[in-house]
């Protein structure tokens, strides 16, 4: 009798047993795949959140400097002059105009604005000094947060002073500088020398193959020259790695020396001595205390000058620098200075946009879905409508932006033939209005809400409708009393997904004119405004390094808004399902 014969009981059929084993293994494997998929998704999410939070963390605090202002007047010009004066005073009132400008750049001109307002409401005695706390410039803030350049500090105790020569133990500083040179050598070798070599060799081979090509010969000569130049720089750097004495300039790390109130800047260094020029006079005559600062990033490669660093360090030792929670990030509108910029205007703009979107898309979407699902006859016309709603959902959002700009802002201009005139369709709404943004995003969200709502309505069992209709309920009553409440969780979820998508949209908003820099808070839905995602886009394109953490911080705030929205949806869902 064969194994596959039906007379064998199934539990003894070897084919069945073998297949059984395979099937349970497949089951197991599938479970592992599922777990793996979930793990990958979670890991990606966590990576994203952690990296953004890490990026953003420095934007949530900022440094402020306490100044004692000698006010001459209460208008913002005079106040700013006083602020500048206080900072320059800390720099030893330099005579050089460039240095004075550098000093005044440590505090933004905008800092005067807030103080002026406070002064004008409170009134002030111009003879007294007026203590204030103002945020330092974004570059100074980056330095104080240790983001602008690595700084190495060594003890300079026991130095000997002879004119512009300071004798002390500089071996630590020397080591840092030598290590920096070694790093530069390897960077030049990998990023410049080796590619140049490859280029030269490639050209040489080509030239060999085509001996008559003059252009090729010229390019080869150029490449050879380049290699020589880089080689020269390389050997220069290599020589300096082991040099006894090094000349320092803006292309090498800076060495600053502090003692008492005085500051010196090294122009050359060796193991036991620097030659230096004074930055601020007042070296400690007792020659007991001293500190050596090695600023690793060369001055030419950073946007904070040595003189500015000296002033910041002086403020720091005077206990005048403090770090605070960056409230401006939440309470200010956009600004051209990162230390004064905040997301509030974007948040308000986004909320207005989303209110308009919600007010339009949710009722219209649900009504359309109810009509199509519960009332419309099934015919060619309704299926045409349905297909096109699905098509609408697939249209890229930027197209909705174009449409919105054309219809609501510019108007469609149709020339009327034969008479000298045009017909203008639509238009009249302003560029960058939250109202327009809301309408455009509503159009974009509508298909999502309709499709989700129709799916939710379709999932309500027909027996409920039959029961209600057979009781003598009208169709409207059937829908309102039974079908909609049962479909509500699904409709809600769909609507929230649609709205969450809308809140993160950037492209359509840019197209309807939300591109401009708007430093004022929007007053209403018909005022120029910006939105959170637009703000994120704009900040990410700004040149100063300080905008990087600000952009990440704004992204986190946008994510939080979405989280709140989704949390609301879950809450409402739970309440409905009870």
């Amino acid at each position: 009798m064969q194994a596959s014969d039906l007379s064998t009981p199934i539990s003894q059929n070897p084919a069945f047993l073998k297949r059984m084993k395979q099937r349970s293994r497949a089951d197991q494997r599938f479970r592992y795949y599922g777990l793996l998929a979930i793990f990958i998704a979670l890991a990606l999410l966590v990576t994203l959140l952690v990296s953004i939070t890490f990026e953003a963390r420095s934007a949530f605090t900022r440094h402020e400097v306490s100044l004692d202002l000698q006010l001459t007047d209460t208008d913002s010009r005079s106040v700013y002059r006083s602020i500048r004066g206080a900072v320059q005073n800390m720099a030893g009132d330099p005579a050089d105009r460039d240095v004075r400008i550098e000093m005044s750049q440590l505090v933004s001109r905008l800092a005067a604005g807030g103080i002026t307002e406070a002064l004008q409401t409170s009134g002030v005695d111009l003879s007294a000094t007026y203590p204030v706390r103002v945020p330092v410039s974004d570059e100074a803030d980056r330095y104080l947060k240790g983001l602008a350049t690595p700084v190495h500090r060594f003890d300079g105790r026991g130095y000997d002073q002879a004119g512009a020569r300071i004798e002390s133990d500089f071996s630590g500083a020397m080591q840092v500088i030598q290590r920096w040179h070694r790093e530069q050598v390897s960077i030049i070798r990998h990023r410049e020398f080796e590619p140049a070599l490859r280029m030269r060799d490639g050209l040489a081979r080509q030239a060999e193959a085509a001996p008559g090509d003059r252009q090729l010969a010229m390019r080869l000569a150029g490449a050879e020259h380049r290699v020589e130049l880089i080689e020269a720089r390389l050997s220069d750097f290599e020589a300096r790695i082991n040099a006894e004495r090094l000349v320092l300039d803006e292309f090498t790390p800076s060495v600053l020396f502090r003692s008492g109130e005085g500051w010196m800047k090294a122009i050359s260094i060796s193991g036991g001595m620097i030659e230096a020029e004074p930055v601020i006079s007042g070296l400690d005559p007792d020659r007991q205390r001293g500190e050596i600062l090695v600023i690793e990033q060369p001055e030419s490669q950073r946007s904070i000058a040595d003189a500015q660093i000296v002033v910041l360090e002086r403020f720091q030792t005077a206990g005048r620098i403090s770090s605070h929670f960056n409230g401006a990030l939440f309470s200010n509108a956009d600004s051209s200075d990162a230390e004064f910029a905040g997301v509030l205007s974007g948040l308000v703009g986004s909320i207005m946009i989303i209110l308009v979107t919600m007010g339009l898309a949710v009722p219209v979407g649900i009504a359309a879905a109810v009509y199509l699902e519960e009332f419309a006859p099934r015919n060619r016309w309704t299926s045409f409508v349905q297909v096109n709603i699905n098509n609408l959902a697939a249209i890229p959002s930027i197209v909705f932006g174009l449409l919105g700009a054309a219809i609501f802002v510019n108007g469609v201009i149709i020339p009327i033939p034969f008479v000298d005139g045009v017909f203008r369709l639509g238009g009249g709404l302003g560029r960058g209005w939250p109202l327009v943004g809301g309408i455009v995003l509503a159009l974009m969200t509508l298909p999502t809400i309709i499709i989700a709502s129709r799916a939710a309505l379709g999932a309500v069992p027909g027996s409920v409708r039959q029961a209600a209709l057979a009781m003598g309920a009208t169709r409207l009553q059937t829908v309102n009393h039974h079908v909609l409440p049962m479909a509500a969780p699904g409709i809600l979820t769909g609507s929230i997904i649609g709205l969450a998508q809308a809140i993160g949209e950037t492209a359509p908003l840019l197209l309807i004119g939300m591109v401009a820099f708007v430093a004022e808070m929007p007053q209403g839905a018909t005022d120029r405004a910006t939105a959170l995602p637009v703000l994120i886009f704009q900040w990410s394109t700004r040149a100063e390094r300080a905008w990087e953490p600000m952009t990440s911080a704004a992204i986190i705030i946008l994510l939080l808004v979405m989280l709140v929205l989704n949390g609301l949806a879950v809450l409402m869902r739970l309440r409905y399902e009870k």
Binding site: P377, R378, S463, V464, R465, Q466, A467, A468, L469, A470, M471, G472, A473, T474, Q477, H481, H482, M486
Partner: protein
């Protein structure tokens, strides 16, 4: 052959007292129904007497449910379904265009095969009809209606402590009685039942049958059933459908003991097919 031994007690005592003299409640003339052009029932003529139970029997797909749905115009809610012919309730034409089906359905209640209480509380289930039709002016009146209906459906004692529990948490038999309570809460004239016991166990079935027998005093009941014995136990009149046609109608006693048509005989003796 006419006194088939398979059906020795086919005519129970109360069914024997068939009130043939009852007035005709529903008069059906030449009713034809088709779905998307495919005919489901064909020229049905039947008189349904008041204050009695009429059983509709016949093989699956013969059009019993379709016929039942004609009587409360639930067929109107099915797209592609067309109904022609003449149906009169108390001599009033209910197929006319100007008759509001909502009005008709308030007069003609319906109980479905699968118990389908609303996903709401027991109380709200029964109160729903009176609420939408405005039958109760006060909360007390409403509570009164709910209690009376539940009592008449024989469910009161079982649910009186759990009126605010979901109706869907009851057992199948309780749900079906809840649905009957819901139907009679608006005091209809006719109750249609489409295989109300086919999803129930024998004990729950017996309770429903008892209930139907009581309701007969006040209502005209039309019930579709697949159980010959059930038809014999609870109905006074029986109609036999086959392939969309009404084959035979008469008192239950006559149909079960002395069918005129060969097909009826074959069906009730289980030789059908």
């Amino acid at each position: 052959m006419m006194s088939d031994p398979i059906l020795p007690s086919a005519a129970p005592a109360h069914a024997g007292a068939a009130p043939q003299e009852q007035a005709v409640k529903v008069r059906v003339r030449d009713v034809t129904v088709s779905y998307d052009g495919a005919m489901a029932i064909d020229s049905v003529n039947i008189d349904i007497p008041d204050k009695s139970v009429m059983a509709i029997i016949g093989p699956s797909g013969c059009g019993k449910s379709t016929f039942l749905r004609c009587l409360n115009r639930m067929n109107d809610t099915i797209s592609g379904c067309s109904v022609t012919g003449d149906i009169r309730i108390d001599e009033e034409d209910v197929t006319a265009r100007n008759v509001n089906p909502v009005m008709l359905r308030a007069r003609v209640g319906m109980v479905f095969q699968e118990p389908n209480p609303f996903p709401k509380t027991v109380f709200e289930n029964v109160a729903y009809g009176p609420k939408i039709h405005g039958l109760a002016a006060t909360r007390a009146e409403l509570e009164d209606i709910v209690e009376t209906s539940l009592r008449r459906a024989g469910l009161w004692d079982e649910v009186k402590d759990g009126l605010h529990k979901p109706g869907t948490s009851l057992s199948g038999g309780q749900q079906q009685r809840l649905v009957i309570a819901r139907a009679i809460a608006i005091n209809p004239e006719i109750i249609l039942m489409d295989e109300p016991c086919s999803a129930l166990d024998p004990i729950a079935t017996a309770r429903i049958e008892e209930l139907i027998d009581e309701l007969r005093q006040n209502y005209c009941i039309v019930i579709v059933t697949h159980s010959m014995s059930q038809a014999a136990r609870i109905s006074q009149n029986t109609a036999f459908f086959d392939r969309g046609k009404l084959i035979e109608t008469g008192t239950t006693e006559q149909i079960f003991t002395n069918p005129r048509d060969r097909r009826t005989h074959d069906y009730i003796t289980g030789r059908y097919g």
